[in-house]
Symmetry: C2
Amino acid sequence: MMKKATHQLTKAHNTTLVLKTIYKNDGVSRAEIARITGLTRTTVSDIVADLQSAGLAHDAGFGYSAAGKPPILVKITGSSRQIMCIDTSEKIFAGALIDLNGEMVFKETIHLPDPLGPVSLETVYHLLDRLKAKATAPILGLGIGIPGIVNTQEGVVLQAVHRGWRDLPMKQLLAAHCDFPIYVANDSNIAALAELTYGEHRQAANLFLLKIGEGIGSGLVLGGKIHEGETYSAGEIGHLSVVPDGAACNCGNRGCLETVARAQILAEASKHFAKVHLELPDEIRNAADPIPGLIKLFHQSDADARAIVFSAARHIAGALASVIGLLDIHKLLIAGVYAPFGQPFLDAVGAELKRRVLSAQSKDINIHFTTYGDDIVLRGAAALVLQQELGLP
Amino acid sequence: MMKKATHQLTKAHNTTLVLKTIYKNDGVSRAEIARITGLTRTTVSDIVADLQSAGLAHDAGFGYSAAGKPPILVKITGSSRQIMCIDTSEKIFAGALIDLNGEMVFKETIHLPDPLGPVSLETVYHLLDRLKAKATAPILGLGIGIPGIVNTQEGVVLQAVHRGWRDLPMKQLLAAHCDFPIYVANDSNIAALAELTYGEHRQAANLFLLKIGEGIGSGLVLGGKIHEGETYSAGEIGHLSVVPDGAACNCGNRGCLETVARAQILAEASKHFAKVHLELPDEIRNAADPIPGLIKLFHQSDADARAIVFSAARHIAGALASVIGLLDIHKLLIAGVYAPFGQPFLDAVGAELKRRVLSAQSKDINIHFTTYGDDIVLRGAAALVLQQELGLP
């Protein structure tokens, strides 16, 4: 029963299964694929033939055989497709072409003169044109990361405060210029997806990724899946209250995490710091971006520099304590502006967490910076397209 | 391929599918079951016969037929099994027998003289004996709700502060006295499961249940499943900081939600309240439990009574705001000591939430008290056994 109805689904499922197996095992024989997937040799051979004629896989040399003919190994043809990736999450927009093996074959960044003006959307179009011009293989799809709330089903940016976007039908706008699939998603959510796909935390069941830049957001992986929430706005950790009666926040409340830890706060503290720390070289003291000066003295254990950064670390830990208390997640990743402060910063977050979290939950807490630094959202865009188009990984 | 290996799994799966279909449709024909499940008539008839010989289902009258013989309807035989349920979550322990239809056929409560002493475990044994004596059908299993962190795989109570239990092998201890399956779980988690199984919020995908009594805990349903966390301690909302530099908490921090909203805090405020509110009847003012006096004047809109309760409501909303911000969950249920304050209490929580949550997330927030009042954990124990033993609902 239900045989006809499920036949096509079964084929798609089996194709994804075979593709995944080739993807995970770099060079694998048809017999081995059959063994791993439980499919028959015939089914595997047919599917591999289909994948090869689509250019997605190729035969690549021979494997070992104790007796008889050595088996032919199949590999993903990484260069057979390219994924267009656009990151609009910070004031520097980025575009990249990433192939199926995760190789970044092209990248370009553009500094936005006015992050809130119409130039932000124009820059997206511009990056799209550049990526089209630079592509050297068929495009699997376009993924774009947005610093805000995104209806991922419709591809509509519901709200992105730092871009002035509201109910912007991003997917529809871009579709007019593309003949390939387009996926629009929250920047932190796909950053978490990047860690699941490419990072050291591949296949983690539960993971929390905190992204700190112009704004503060987070991506939440529960049971191996991104948790988007009822209205696509899960992970709004930037507006957790961490300083009672603290500074007023854009959101209308006071003392939100964003008011004490986002990039601008760090930049302002750095500016003041550079002014009074005359021992810094003039080119750092007078630089438009004052943060490198803070980083320099922080790593020389300057007490003032450490005080600034550790104060932010404590506030961040306060918000993370709520995450651990509620979700009992132990794998925490941090992306963004605090990465240059390295292990001392992570240690400060960890120490404060230990103080604030129940002892039963504080064991095995695991805090790292993200694997791909500034490229984490571009990687996430690629991961999103891989997942949606090929069911990978 | 894999046919032999999957045959038994398929049979178990199909049996659960048929059982679920009968359970959801009160009175359904074999033909209808076949249509709903997509299984063949023969498979359905065989499975129904198996269920009937196990006593789990029975033929119950005839359905409507436009032409030809009217079909025989199949129903779950609710009384064929009873589930033992024990609730250790408050100072009043409870035991109950609940049948497959959710009918509570017996219930007994015992007030613990010393919630931290050995009497607590003795009371569990005593309730077990009483339930055995009162059972009038074969026992499907025992479910027990614990106010603490439970390794549900092993049935070990890792920590239950309010009972003085630590690494207590509850399942193993009880198994010596039982010849049926035993399931041990956190009280708030199974309370949430009860809402998914019996409550008005049946089949909600995402749901947050806050339980306030001796302690404060929560149960978290994400994607239709209880989220237990990495170390079985998700939902520790009682130790979210809501009052900066507030009163010291057992956990070592200050200003946790428990320090301002648990039952004891309400009782202390009520005691003071009763002392100064001479207009209350003497039997209320001198009662061991002073809360009824507070409830009485609260519903007469007494300003002092409202101030006490609304202050707690604001703190509770503060913690719930973190939940909504992080998880974007809109279905919130509250169980426990605040239920008698009814809608005015919920309105106060809702108003504070609206103030504290991002506007995008504040739409459609839905706050209710739990469906089953004080029986919510007993119901949860029954739901747990139904789920684990029969795959229901």
